[in-house]
């Protein structure tokens, strides 16, 4: 709760809204005991007095009634009615939504048909019809406003409930013997509640407006009782001659609704976990670069990553995702980068072309050189011209990485046309040829498919075709087969292998699978906690791992054909990269660790091409 308030008031606008609303609420609560004149006492002699008249700080209306008093009593009424309407609508609507979403099937169908029916009315028609039937009056206006908002809550809450009801913890609760009512109350409701609060806080202002609107039309509060809407309605005829009688209630409605909206946005932001991590900010076109320290000198490799540091700045925390990685590839070579999740392998790959999402990503040191030219901090246009043209990417999940609304042919053609001025017809011809290169059958008809019309394996072939479109020098493949079935994976891997042999492509292959590395890569680098702990030719590393981590990681992965066995597990967990221990990051999990392992920085050492970052290596390299 305190954390929620802290988050809420970190948003200054929400704080402002809260202050304004509190002042209004306080005034309204104190209204009965404030020394105000009777709001309904008419005095025809004092009609339309201007504001700041002695005795009438805000002047009087067309019947000579004190505007300040009427304003406060009216605000009281408007707020009470609006908030009650919101509570009623939220309670009924959420109950309907939860029941429909949880039970699904026919219950859901029937309920949501009804809700859709209600939503088929422009809301005021429904409200007008209800008021027409029940007769004008504030209570009836309240019922009408609550009723037209029930479908909104029902639909909103149903959506959330459906996604929650599909979560595994609901199944787990059923297996624990809970009944439906108990699951709804103790498993679902606590998770839906924040959404209900958000929906309420963002609509209560709207409902106050609505009730004021009905009163404005003369269908809500009836004279002499007045809420803000009916004050405005009565003042309308004197708008041109005595504008203050309109401005006073109008401004009050505006202030109330604005402060509620500000506060509501704040509540939403504070309760929405996605916003809490700052994830809803727009990633820039290239990763932010704030380089400290010296820039390493140029090398003559095709692609060289030199002492790269990439960090994530989230709030006050700094995650050192990549902490000084150096890698290089030659034409026709396949370099494997292997590591567990959080080891920094993907961030390293994305840093090359400035594709790490920023915020929160920042490249803080080192260089990435393509044919000697430094790409870190290069102007956007330089980087863009290289992206996809000289250095291309293949990503993990081809369903989320292809645009769902463009045909695959359009996406392929675009990759070509971003770098070459060719006609759409030629681009299409070339796209068909590319699909054939990646062995997609019926390329001529497949080119007009949308990604969702293809299987996972076919989609990944499209992803590969797109990477090949401009005959790049380097392909960076970030776990390209992890999302695929094993039989499809084998095909994709052999395709990649053939392509690089035929075309002299350099491939940087990111994976967590030793089997894949062994079959595809010439050299391999093992990453742990943002750094390379060992590298060398694939055979040498796998046959005689020098770093204890590599050795134990290989040992704990079961291998086909090994039969039933006890696995050699590594105790403990990989470290979190915002709080790395000094010295070797693996030391806390390593049974060979000694005091000096935990003392200072350990260099990556050895005779090229082998190197290991360990003081007590398993093998001399």
């Amino acid at each position: 709760m305190t954390q929620f308030l802290k988050l809420l008031f970190r948003n200054r606008l929400a704080g402002f809204g809260a202050v304004v609303l509190s002042v209004i609420l306080l005034l309204v609560l104190l209204t009965p005991i404030l020394p105000l004149q009777n709001p309904d006492t008419t005095a025809t002699a004092d009609r339309f007095l201007k504001p700041f008249t002695p005795g009438h700080p805000l002047g009087t209306d067309h019947l000579g009634r004190d505007l300040l008093s009427r304003l406060l009593w009216g605000t009281r009424l408007s707020l009470a009615v609006g908030i009650s309407a919101a509570l009623i609508a939220a309670t009924i609507g959420s109950a309907i939504g939860i029941v429909a979403g949880y039970f699904g099937g026919r219950t859901d169908n029937v309920i949501m048909r009804g809700v859709d029916m209600l939503m088929a009315f422009p809301y005021i028609l429904l409200a007008l019809a209800i008021v027409a039937a029940l007769g004008p009056g504030l209570m009836n206006a309240l019922i009408a406003v609550a009723a037209v908002n029930v479908p909104f809550f029902a639909r909103n809450i149903r959506g959330v409930t459906v996604s929650l009801a599909g979560r595994e913890f609901i199944d787990a609760a059923r297996l624990a013997g809970m009944g439906h009512a108990r699951i709804i109350l103790t498993e679902l409701l606590p998770n839906v509640l924040p959404v209900i609060v958000i929906a309420m806080s963002t609509t209560v202002g709207w409902m106050i407006l609505e009730t004021a609107g009905l009163s404005f039309l003369g269908l809500g509060s009836q004279p002499p009782q007045a809420d803000l809407g009916s004050m405005l309605g009565e003042a309308r005829s004197a708008l041109i001659t005595h504008p203050h009688t309109s401005v006073v209630p109008g401004l009050m409605i505006f202030l109330i609704v604005m402060s509620i909206n500000l506060l509501g946005d704040g509540v939403r932001d504070a309760l929405d976990p996605r916003l809490r991590s700052g994830a809803l900010s727009r990633p820039r076109a290239t990763t932010l670069v704030e380089r400290q320290g010296e820039i390493p000198p140029a090398s003559d490799d095709l692609l060289a990553i030199q002492d790269l540091h990439t960090q994530f700045h989230v709030g006050k925390r700094i995650y050192r995702a990549v902490g000084g990685v150096s890698l290089a590839v030659k034409p026709g070579e396949c370099l494997g980068v292997i590591g567990e999740s959080g080891s920094g392998k993907s961030v390293t790959a994305l840093s090359v072309m400035g594709l790490v999402a920023s915020p929160p990503g920042v490249i803080t040191g080192g260089a990435v050189r393509f044919q000697g030219e430094d790409l870190v901090g290069a102007p956007y246009e330089t980087l863009r011209q290289k992206r996809g043209d000289r250095v291309a990417y293949i990503f993990q999940d081809p369903l989320s990485t292809l645009h769902p609304l463009y045909r695959v042919g359009e996406q392929l053609a675009e990759a070509i046309q971003s770098h070459h001025k060719i006609s759409s017809k030629d681009a299409r011809t070339r796209a068909i040829a590319l699909l054939k290169d990646v062995r997609i059958p019926n390329a001529e008809s497949r080119i007009d498919n949308y990604p969702h019309e293809m299987s996972g394996g076919m989609r990944q072939r499209v992803g590969i075709a797109m990477a090949l479109a401009n005959e790049p020098d380097v392909i960076i493949a970030d776990e390209p087969t992890t999302a695929l079935d094993v039989t499809v994976q084998a095909q994709i891997l052999s395709l990649l292998d053939d392509l690089r042999r035929d075309r002299g492509l350099a491939i940087v292959f990111i994976t967590h699978d030793f089997g894949v590395v062994a079959q595809l890569c010439d050299r391999v680098a093992v990453m742990y906690a943002g750094r390379i702990v060992e590298e060398g030719p694939t055979g040498a590393v796998l046959d005689a791992p020098a770093h204890p981590y590599t050795k134990r990681l290989i040992a704990c992965v079961p291998e086909l054909g090994g039969g039933r066995r006890e696995l050699a597990a590594i105790p403990g967990l990989p470290p979190v990269v915002d709080d790395l221990p000094p010295g070797c990051a693996f030391a806390p999990r390593c049974d060979k660790a000694r005091d000096d392992c935990r003392a200072g920085d350990i260099p990556l050492d050895g005779t090229a091409p082998r190197a290991v970052r360990c003081l007590y290596a398993e093998e001399a390299v």
Partner: protein, 318 residues
């Protein structure tokens, strides 16, 4: 008496009747299948995405009502899809450990639920049982008052296992229990599962897509393809000497250190369309050995060799 017996179990998901035209046949996620799991045995279930392994698992624990067939657990017929009735006999460990724990409940509340609802234990009994279970999965009691988001994937999976154990079932269905975990943590959880099985005499149904893992933990393995059992055999034999060409394809496709990269198949690699299933063997379209017979009639599961079964007209020889 087998711990689990499944007879002609099948699930068909009905399709919505189109506005115009006749109602279509449903999607047959699981075709009628029968198998038994012996007391204390680990039966591996392996197959690629869309083969029906999760549908099978959900039927076995009562989360999904079978369209046909029977489930018998420890001699007791259970096919009314009532999870509360299943809960004392069979429990489930989910694939995504974080999604299987309610984020708004403490670990104690989560683990208490089966004790309260299935066994109506009082507070003292529950506390004793929870300590016992927590100790057996190597978690410290101080974790009990924390919330799920404070745990890593491996720890969360231990909590999920502890919850399943708390209900004191005879059988546990493990649905891809380690595929969301990092490799170095996978081994910890697999070893823990092996220890628990020995300690409590549990029977496991281990569902996964990872051939190496399933081979390492199972006694026998069932290979599923397109909702049907294509091969069943001893774990140490089935991938080494497969009878069904699909099992063979799987075994050859798995990346293995020290084996050259081969693409064992260059033909159309798509699964058949579930809305429009082929008449004969579902694998015929991808099979190098397929004949007209395969495309016309669906082969039954037949015994081949001592304790191996395969559904193939032209099985591979030893």
């Amino acid at each position: 008496m087998p711990a689990l017996k499944v007879e002609n179990l099948a699930k068909t998901f009905p399709l919505k009747k189109p506005l115009f035209g006749a109602a279509r046949d449903g999607v047959r996620a699981v075709r009628p299948m029968s198998f038994e799991v012996a007391e204390g045995e680990t039966l591996g279930v392996v197959g690629e995405s869309g083969c029906g392994k999760s549908t099978l698992a959900r039927m076995l624990v009562g989360l999904l009502e079978p369209s046909e067939g029977h489930i018998e657990i420890a001699g007791k017929a259970l096919d009314n899809a009532d999870p509360a009735a299943f809960g004392k006999l069979i429990q489930y460990v989910f694939q995504d450990p974080n999604s299987s724990l309610n984020p708004r409940k403490s670990i104690r509340q989560i683990i208490e639920a089966p004790l309260k609802r299935l066994y109506r234990m009082n507070r003292a009994e529950r506390a004793a049982r929870i300590s016992e279970v927590f100790a057996s999965v190597n978690l410290r009691d101080e974790f009990l008052d924390r919330y799920p988001h404070e745990f890593s994937g491996g720890q969360a999976q231990r909590i999920g296992i502890a919850r399943a154990l708390a209900a004191n079932p005879r059988i546990i269905v493990l649905d891809e229990p380690v595929s969301a975990l990092d490799v170095s943590v996978q081994a910890q959880v697999l070893n823990l599962l092996a220890d628990l099985r020995a300690q409590f005499g549990l029977t496991y149904l281990f569902i996964t897509h990872d051939l190496a893992v399933v081979e390492a933990v199972s006694d026998r393995i069932v290979v599923l393809y397109f909702g049907a059992v294509v091969e069943l055999g001893r774990a140490e034999r089935i991938f080494a000497a497969p009878r069904h060409p699909y099992t063979s394809l799987l075994a050859q496709s798995a990346p293995v250190v020290g084996r050259a990269l081969t693409a064992p198949e260059q033909k159309d690699s798509e699964l058949p369309d579930p809305l429009n299933p082929p008449p004969g063997c579902a694998f015929a379209g991808r099979c190098p050995r397929a004949t007209d017979l395969c495309r016309a009639t669906d082969p039954p599961l037949e015994q081949m060799g001592e304790d191996q079964f395969a559904a193939c007209h032209h099985p591979l020889e030893d």
